[in-house]
């Protein structure tokens, strides 16, 4: 019976401790578990309509009239009037999902499509797993859903993809602007006071709809480049078109003309992509061997794959892929001089420096490594620079055509840097520090391609160069990011100091090609 007496107290204590536990548990769980997947971006009201954008210099198209856009029906046309009526009907019963979609796209489709593209690129950034016999399967564009899925969106592939979509979108929007100001059809909410303006009034004519142009060009090119994401891409495109309509900004005919224009421009770029050298960029066993033989003939130790099992080099012929602002001769002319010989004292010193750094990394240096790892399942270095550009473009309240110019310029430079960097990497075929000294252990995944010059340094210098031109107020920050990105590769133990210094210098020169174009494209 003593037991019975003593039991009562524990029961009381139990309930108290249980209550304390629950309170603590709830307080822990309440720290927000929900991480938003898309950044909230402010709604954009363009500071400038850029009414002359139809006259800005084209990059691939011959001019805005390369794609014909027929004149719209007059606003008094009964067909157009019934289009307006259907907008009113739709606005009368907006669902919550539609309202959320309007908010989402109010920040501007150019920014949203760039985010979507980064997500898709990260999803596709997976190297194939080895076969049981130690060979590697190659993703097949003719059968993209098979294992391994097509594409493997590695840094050069991603650089090219970001640039194709961004440049095509820019050309399509310049064309749209040309016709907008030729036909000057106002937005439905301006024509009919019964239609609410659920997006900020940009004072930009609505035919053809810029939102629909973006949906058309992005859907077509993203599907071409990332075929396995087709459902998500189409859903986003459909949503953007619907938002253009139900927000009162564009009518059905504005949208139809925009989608058609976007798709027509996309077709021009798809044709370019089919013949830009990408198909041959993977090389062949004979090419891989000749690259090593060339290095050996020069008296250098050739690069070897340190993947287990050894993997064919990543896109060894990407250096021959067509650039945007540079000719193949420019690429060769800009190629940096050779790295220190693998047998030189300088190379020995630089290898020793890598080893010493990697074995005494501070936590801050480690953070820099992880921040800039940009490895598997990431947006890759070019996507990282798009992410850096995003807040500057958003804060600038650009028109859609000018926002698209920023991404087009940036991604052209990043693509050209990829081409030029890959040209140098495979021309010199220089080994990584961990190959020359196997006792060097790396602080991040070792990229499966030659060392010289550093891709991060090249990309970052080109990206920083263009962004500093577009947003001079951020120049100091962009330079700091470039330095950090470049140095992260030395801290990680995957690059020598010369890879980094020469890479930054190289990237700056590549970026300057795009900056020169930007200075004279008529947008200033």
């Amino acid at each position: 019976m003593t037991t019975i007496v003593t039991k009562k107290t524990p029961l009381l204590r139990t309930s108290i401790s249980a209550a304390i536990f629950l309170a603590l548990a709830l307080s822990t769980s309440s720290c927000s578990k929900d991480i938003p997947t898309s950044e909230p971006l402010p709604a954009v009201t363009p500071a400038n309509t850029d009414a002359n954008a139809g006259a800005w210099k084209m990059i691939v198209l011959s001019g805005p009239t390369q794609i014909a856009v027929a004149a719209p029906a007059p606003v008094s046309d009964p067909g157009y009037q019934s289009e307006l009526a259907s907008i009113k009907t739709a606005q009368a019963s907006l669902t919550d999902a539609q309202k959320t979609a309007i908010t989402y796209w109010s920040s501007g489709g150019v920014l949203r499509w760039n985010q979507i593209m980064r997500e898709i690129a990260a999803r596709s950034d997976l190297p194939p797993s080895p076969n049981p016999d130690g060979s590697y399967p190659v993703p097949n564009p003719a059968n993209p859903f098979a294992n391994p899925q097509y594409p493997f969106s590695n840094p050069p592939y991603a650089a090219r993809a970001y640039s194709y979509v961004s440049v095509a979108q820019f050309e399509a929007l310049k064309t749209a602007w040309y016709y907008k100001y030729q036909y000057n059809r106002p937005s439905p909410f301006k024509t009919d006071t019964g239609i609410k303006a659920l997006l900020p009034d940009s004072n930009i004519p609505s035919y053809p709809s810029e939102d629909a142009v973006e949906a058309g060009v992005n859907a077509a090119l993203l599907t071409l480049l990332f075929p396995t994401s087709v459902d998500e891409i189409n859903a986003k495109a459909a949503e953007q078109q619907q938002v253009a309509l139900i927000s009162g900004r564009a009518s059905a005919s504005d949208i139809a003309a925009g989608v058609a224009l976007g798709k027509a421009v996309a077709a021009v770029f798809a044709a370019r992509a089919a013949t830009d050298g990408m198909k041959a960029a993977g090389g062949s066993p004979a090419i891989w061997q000749s690259l090593a033989a060339n290095a050996t003939a020069r008296g250098e130790i050739p690069w070897i794959s340190q993947d287990g099992p050894p993997r064919p080099p990543m896109l060894p012929v990407f250096g021959k892929v067509k650039a945007w602002m540079m000719t193949p001769t420019d690429i060769v002319n800009e190629r940096p001089g050779p790295p220190p010989s693998t047998s030189s004292a300088q190379m020995q010193t630089e290898t020793a420096e890598v080893k010493s750094i990697v074995n005494s990394l501070t936590r801050d240096q480690q953070a820099t490594v992880y921040k800039w790892a940009d490895g598997v399942s990431t947006v890759t270095p070019p996507g990282h620079w798009d992410a850096i550009a995003e807040p500057y473009i958003s804060a600038a309240s650009f028109s859609e055509v000018r926002a698209s110019r920023s991404f087009a310029l940036l991604n052209m430079a990043l693509h050209d840097a990829a081409v030029a960097c890959w040209d140098a990497k495979y021309f010199y075929f220089n080994p990584r520090p961990s190959q020359l000294d196997p006792s060097i252990k790396t602080q991040t995944g070792l990229p499966n391609f030659p060392s010289y010059v550093s891709g991060h340094s090249d990309f970052s210098a080109a990206g920083s160069d263009v962004l500093s031109y577009l947003f001079p107020s951020g120049a100091t920050y962009f330079q700091a990011q470039m330095q950090e990105a470049a140095m992260s590769r030395l801290y990680a133990g995957i690059h020598y100091r010369s890879d980094i210094n020469v890479g930054m210098d190289h990237g700056k020169r590549i970026g300057d090609y795009t900056v020169s174009f930007a200075k004279t494209d008529g947008a200033n």
Binding site: S32, E119, G308, Y370, I440, T442, Q443
Partner: protein
């Protein structure tokens, strides 16, 4: 020799300690051996250590049914060796030539203090080394997560003449001791998440040494901060440096013999993450992956001959089923010493 004792908390209500039953169970006379018996009892209380350390150390631990005697301290050092070469990438079992065998070694300084006969406080301080046998990745080392736990005996019910059944509640938490990275799995020291765990344990100890233990726990895990501003997991790109960590549900059982300061147990335990994505093909593991596993193993704890109050531990486990974890073989070995601050009350 002595044999015997019934620890203050070994499953019998306090009044029983002073009853004749105690001597029946212990099989010795209290006067001659009472004090020594008390010490020995404390050793067994050490069973309560370790838990929630690295994934490797989810062994017999905070989850048993043993309590320390009042005002006694049990402390020591344990070494854990955990290694795997085969792992589950989602549900696909594979090996990876870029990492070879992943070995995690841990030295844990552990202490357990009996505040009263029904309340123990536990602290663990682990230092961890990681290494990959193949590929070029640099291993990591450093202090991992401090564990603090309060273990409370709710109730103890005698089961006839055969033994006693106890119910125990444990509230424990972990706190990363350093700002180590969670972003280099599987070579990171841990997940760098703060955790809070509620645990309930039912334990039966028979007078002839039959030991039955069942335990279940739920762990809340705080968000983790990365050094980067976006990451891809579970089908989505997150534009944030914050990672939501799925909570964990664990349960386990141990069956065996425990008497006279000797434990021979068979262990089985399961972890189920309440969310999280799978490792993607040829990708690195990610901190918030859904880490599920089933482990089986054994625990041996024996008194060190001729050294009073010192106990030797050997714990082995094998992960025989899992998802996003290594098929690990894990053993823990070490010595635990007990220091009583108060003589055991004798009648």
């Amino acid at each position: 020799m002595t044999s015997n004792h019934v620890p203050a908390s070994s499953g019998f209500n306090k009044p029983l300690l002073f009853s004749r039953r105690r001597f029946l169970l212990a099989g010795s006379t209290p006067k001659s051996n009472g004090r020594r018996a008390g010490h020995a009892a404390l050793l067994s209380g050490c069973l309560t250590f370790l838990s929630l350390l690295s994934p490797s150390l989810h062994a017999q631990t905070i989850d048993d049914g043993i309590m320390l005697a009042k005002r006694s301290l049990c402390a020591g050092a344990l070494y854990t060796h955990d290694s795997w070469d085969s792992y589950w990438q989602g549900s696909l079992q594979r090996v990876n030539g870029n990492i070879g065998t992943i070995t995690t070694q841990t030295i844990t300084m552990a202490a357990n203090y009996g505040v009263t006969s029904r309340l123990d406080f536990i602290i663990n301080v682990p230092y961890v080394w990681t290494d990959a046998s193949k590929g070029v990745l640099h291993g990591q080392s450093g202090f991992q997560d401090l564990t603090l736990a309060a273990k409370y005996k709710l109730v103890s019910v005698p089961v006839g003449k055969f033994g006693a059944l106890r119910a125990i509640a444990v509230l424990s938490g972990t706190l990363p001791m350093t700002n180590y990275t969670p972003d280099l799995q599987p070579l990171s020291l841990g997940t760098n998440s703060k955790t809070l765990t509620g645990r309930a344990t039912l334990n039966y100890l028979g007078r002839r040494g039959l030991y039955l233990n069942g335990t279940a726990a739920y762990t809340f895990r705080s968000n983790v901060t990365l050094d980067r501003t976006s990451y891809y997991t579970n089908g989505q790109l997150y534009l944030s440096n914050q990672v939501a960590m799925p909570n964990l549900f664990n349960y386990g059982t141990s069956v065996g013999y425990r008497k006279n300061n000797l434990s021979l147990l068979g262990d089985f335990s399961v972890q189920q993450a309440r969310g999280g994505g799978d490792i993607r093909p040829q990708d690195m593991p990610f901190v918030s992956n859904r880490t599920n596993f089933s482990k089986a193993g054994a625990t041996i704890k024996v008194p060190v001959p001729k050294v009073k109050d010192l106990q030797y531990w050997f714990i082995y486990s094998n992960t025989f089923q899992g998802r996003n974890v290594g098929q690990a073989n894990t053993f823990t070995t070490g010595l635990m010493y007990t220091l009583p601050f108060e003589k055991r009350a004798t009648p």
